[in-house]
C-alpha cells in the first residue's frame, strides 16, 4: 500500500478514536454503555430517510438533518430506557432492533447503490474513507479527516468548558438540579455530542465497532484512573499503543484495521482483568 494512503488511514482512525473517547466518557461514568449500542443502531433509518430527502450523503443539509433527527431519536430512547429502569435493557433492545430493521429495509429498497449498503453499515468503510478528497491550498485532504478533525476540535472545546458540569451530572444530578441547572437540557446536549460522534464514526468503522471504540478503551483505562481527564488521557495512550500494533498487523496480513484494533484492545482488556493484581504489583 502507498505509504501516503497509510498515513491518511492512520490519521482517520486516530481521529475516530479520539472523538469516541470524548463522547463516551460520560456515558461510561453513568454505566450506560448499551445506550451507545442502541443509538449507533438506531441512527441508520434516520440517515437513509434524510438521504432520500436531500439526495446527497455529503451535503451540509444531510449532516444537519441527520444530527437533528438522530438527537431526537436518541433522546426518546434514553427517556424510555430511564422511564422503566428495571426493564431498560428490554426497551433499548426493542427499539434498536426495530429501528435497525427499518434501516436495513430502507437501505435494501432505496439506497442500495450508495455507501449505505447493508455490509458497510455493519463493517464500516475505513479503507474508502481516504479516497474522497477536497483541495485546500493545493493539498488534497480527505473529507473524512476534515469532518473528524472539526469534530475533534469541538469535542476538545466542549470537554474543557463543561468538564466539571458533566462530571457532576454523572455522579450527582440532584445536586445540580437543586443548584438551578437545567439537567434535562445538559443531558440533551451530551446526547447531541454522542450522536454527532456516532454519525461521523459510523461511516468509517460501522455500527458495532463504533460501540467497541466507545466502551473498550474506557474500560481498560478504568484500571489506572478514575477522574474523567485521567480516563481520557490513559485511554488515548492505550488506544494509540493498540493502534500501532494493529496497523502493523493489519497492513502486514491484509486484515481489517478496525477489527484488528478491537481484537488487540479486547485481548489487552481480558488479560489485564485476569492478571490485574500481578500487573498492579509491577
Amino acid at each position: 500500500m502507498d505509504s501516503y494512503i497509510f498515513y491518511k488511514l492512520f490519521l482517520v482512525f486516530l481521529l475516530v478514536i479520539c472523538n469516541s473517547l470524548f463522547s463516551s466518557v460520560w456515558f461510561f461514568e453513568r454505566r450506560q454503555g448499551l445506550l451507545v449500542d442502541a443509538i449507533s443502531h438506531s441512527v441508520l433509518p434516520v440517515l437513509v430517510v434524510v438521504y432520500l430527502l436531500v439526495n446527497s450523503l455529503s451535503s451540509f443539509s444531510f449532516v444537519f438533518y441527520s444530527i437533528v433527527f438522530s438527537t431526537i431519536l436518541a433522546w426518546l430512547i434514553s427517556y424510555l430506557s430511564r422511564f422503566n429502569k428495571r426493564h431498560s435493557q428490554s426497551f433499548i433492545g426493542v427499539f434498536f432492533s426495530g429501528l435497525f430493521a427499518l434501516g436495513l429495509l430502507l437501505t435494501n429498497f432505496f439506497a442500495r447503490n450508495v455507501h449505505l449498503d447493508a455490509d458497510s453499515v455493519l463493517f464500516g468503510a475505513l479503507e474508502f474513507s481516504v479516497f474522497e478528497n477536497i483541495q485546500i491550498f493545493g493539498l488534497s485532504i480527505p473529507v473524512a479527516i476534515l469532518k473528524l478533525g472539526f469534530l475533534f476540535l469541538l469535542n476538545l472545546f466542549v470537554f474543557n468548558l463543561f468538564r466539571r458540569l458533566f462530571s457532576a451530572l454523572s455522579f450527582d444530578s440532584s445536586t445540580l438540579k437543586l443548584s438551578g441547572f437545567n439537567v434535562p437540557l445538559i443531558d440533551l446536549f451530551q446526547l447531541f455530542l454522542l450522536v454527532l460522534n456516532v454519525i461521523f464514526c459510523f461511516e468509517v468503522v460501522g455500527v458495532i465497532l463504533t460501540l467497541g471504540l466507545n466502551v473498550t478503551p474506557m474500560m481498560l483505562s478504568r484500571y489506572f484512573g478514575f477522574r474523567s481527564l485521567d480516563l481520557i488521557n490513559i485511554s488515548f495512550l492505550i488506544a494509540l499503543f493498540a493502534l500501532f500494533i494493529s496497523s502493523f498487523l493489519s497492513f502486514r496480513y491484509n486484515l481489517s484495521l478496525s477489527a484488528v484494533f478491537m481484537v488487540v484492545l479486547g485481548v489487552k482488556f481480558i488479560t489485564l482483568s485476569f492478571y490485574k493484581d500481578y500487573f498492579m504489583k509491577l
Binding site: 454505566r31 428495571r86 426493542v94 432492533s97 466502551v215 477489527a259
Partner: protein
C-alpha cells in the same frame, strides 16, 4: 407449511426464553450471544468448509459457551457494569468474526453470500434438514420449559426458594444459557446476527403490555407469532432478494408501536 411450523416453533421458544430474560432484567444477553455467534459461524466454515446448520450449531454453540463463561468470569472479578461487559463482548465477538472473514478472503474463498444469510437472515435459504434441526431443538427446549415450569416460576420471582425445593440454581441457569445459545445460533439463519435479539424481546414486550398472567401471555403469543410468521413467510418467499430478518423484526416492531399507542389511548379513555 414446514417453513411456517419451523418459524412458529422457533419464535415461540424464543418468546418464552425472552420472557425469562425479561423478568431477570438481562434482556440484552441474547444480543451478546448473537454477535459472538458470528465468529463461530465463520469458524465452522474454516474448520469444515461447510455451512450445514447442524455443524454450525455445534461449533458456534461451543464457541459462544466459552465466551459466555469468560463473560461470567469477568463480571465476577471486575467492577464493571453488566452493560459495559455486554457492550465489550458484542464488539469484541463481532471483530473476531470480521477477522475470520478476512482470513478466508485472503485465501481466495468467496463466502459473502453464505455469511449474508447468517448476518441478515434468509428464511428462503432454509432447506428441509435445516428446518428439522430447528424444530428438533425448539421441541427439546419447549419440553424442558414445560417439565420445569414450576421451578422456572420460582427462579423468576423468588430465586432463593429454588434451593429450598431441592433444585440447583446453577443447573437451571446453565441449562437456560445453553438453550438460549443453541436457539440464538439457530435463529441466525432466520433473523440474522443483529436482529436475533428482536425475536427474543419484541414479541414478549408486546404481550406484557396487555397481560400479566402466564396463561394469557401464552395464548396471546400463539396468535401474535402465528400472524407475524405467516406474513413474513409470504413476503420473504415472494421477494427472494430480501433478507427475512429485517422484515420479521420490523413487523413485530410495528405491532409493538401500535400496541403501545393503543394502550396509552385506552388508558386515557378509561382512567382519564
Amino acid at each position: 407449511m414446514i417453513l411456517f411450523i419451523t418459524l412458529f416453533l422457533l419464535s415461540f421458544t424464543l418468546y418464552l426464553l425472552g420472557g425469562v430474560y425479561y423478568f431477570k432484567s438481562k434482556s440484552l444477553i441474547t444480543d451478546v450471544y448473537a454477535h459472538v455467534a458470528f465468529p463461530g459461524v465463520v469458524l465452522a466454515y474454516i474448520l469444515f468448509h461447510s455451512l450445514d446448520l447442524y455443524l454450525v450449531v455445534f461449533v458456534t454453540s461451543v464457541f459462544v459457551l466459552i465466551v459466555d463463561y469468560l463473560k461470567a468470569k469477568l463480571l465476577s472479578i471486575t467492577n464493571f457494569s453488566t452493560d459495559s461487559i455486554f457492550a465489550f463482548f458484542i464488539a469484541f465477538g463481532f471483530s473476531i468474526g470480521t477477522l475470520f472473514v478476512n482470513f478466508l478472503q485472503n485465501r481466495g474463498v468467496s463466502t459473502k453470500a453464505g455469511f449474508s444469510d447468517f448476518l441478515f437472515g434468509n428464511l428462503s435459504s432454509l432447506n428441509q434438514s435445516d428446518s428439522y434441526v430447528i424444530i428438533f431443538f425448539s421441541l427439546i427446549t419447549l419440553f424442558w420449559i414445560f417439565f420445569y415450569r414450576k421451578v422456572l416460576l420460582s427462579y423468576l420471582f423468588d430465586e432463593f426458594s429454588i434451593n429450598k425445593i431441592g433444585f440447583n440454581l446453577l443447573y437451571i441457569e446453565r441449562s437456560l444459557s445453553l438453550m438460549a445459545v443453541v436457539l440464538t445460533v439457530l435463529s441466525l439463519k432466520v433473523a440474522g446476527v443483529v436482529l436475533t435479539t428482536g425475536l427474543f424481546l419484541i414479541p414478549f414486550s408486546i404481550s406484557i403490555l396487555f397481560f400479566n398472567k402466564i396463561k394469557h401471555l401464552i395464548k396471546f403469543s400463539i396468535i401474535l407469532i402465528s400472524f407475524v410468521s405467516f406474513i413474513s413467510i409470504i413476503i420473504s418467499l415472494n421477494y427472494s432478494g430480501m433478507s427475512t430478518g429485517p422484515i420479521l423484526i420490523f413487523i413485530y416492531f410495528l405491532v409493538f408501536l401500535l400496541s403501545l399507542l393503543g394502550k396509552k389511548i385506552f388508558n386515557k379513555l378509561n382512567y382519564g
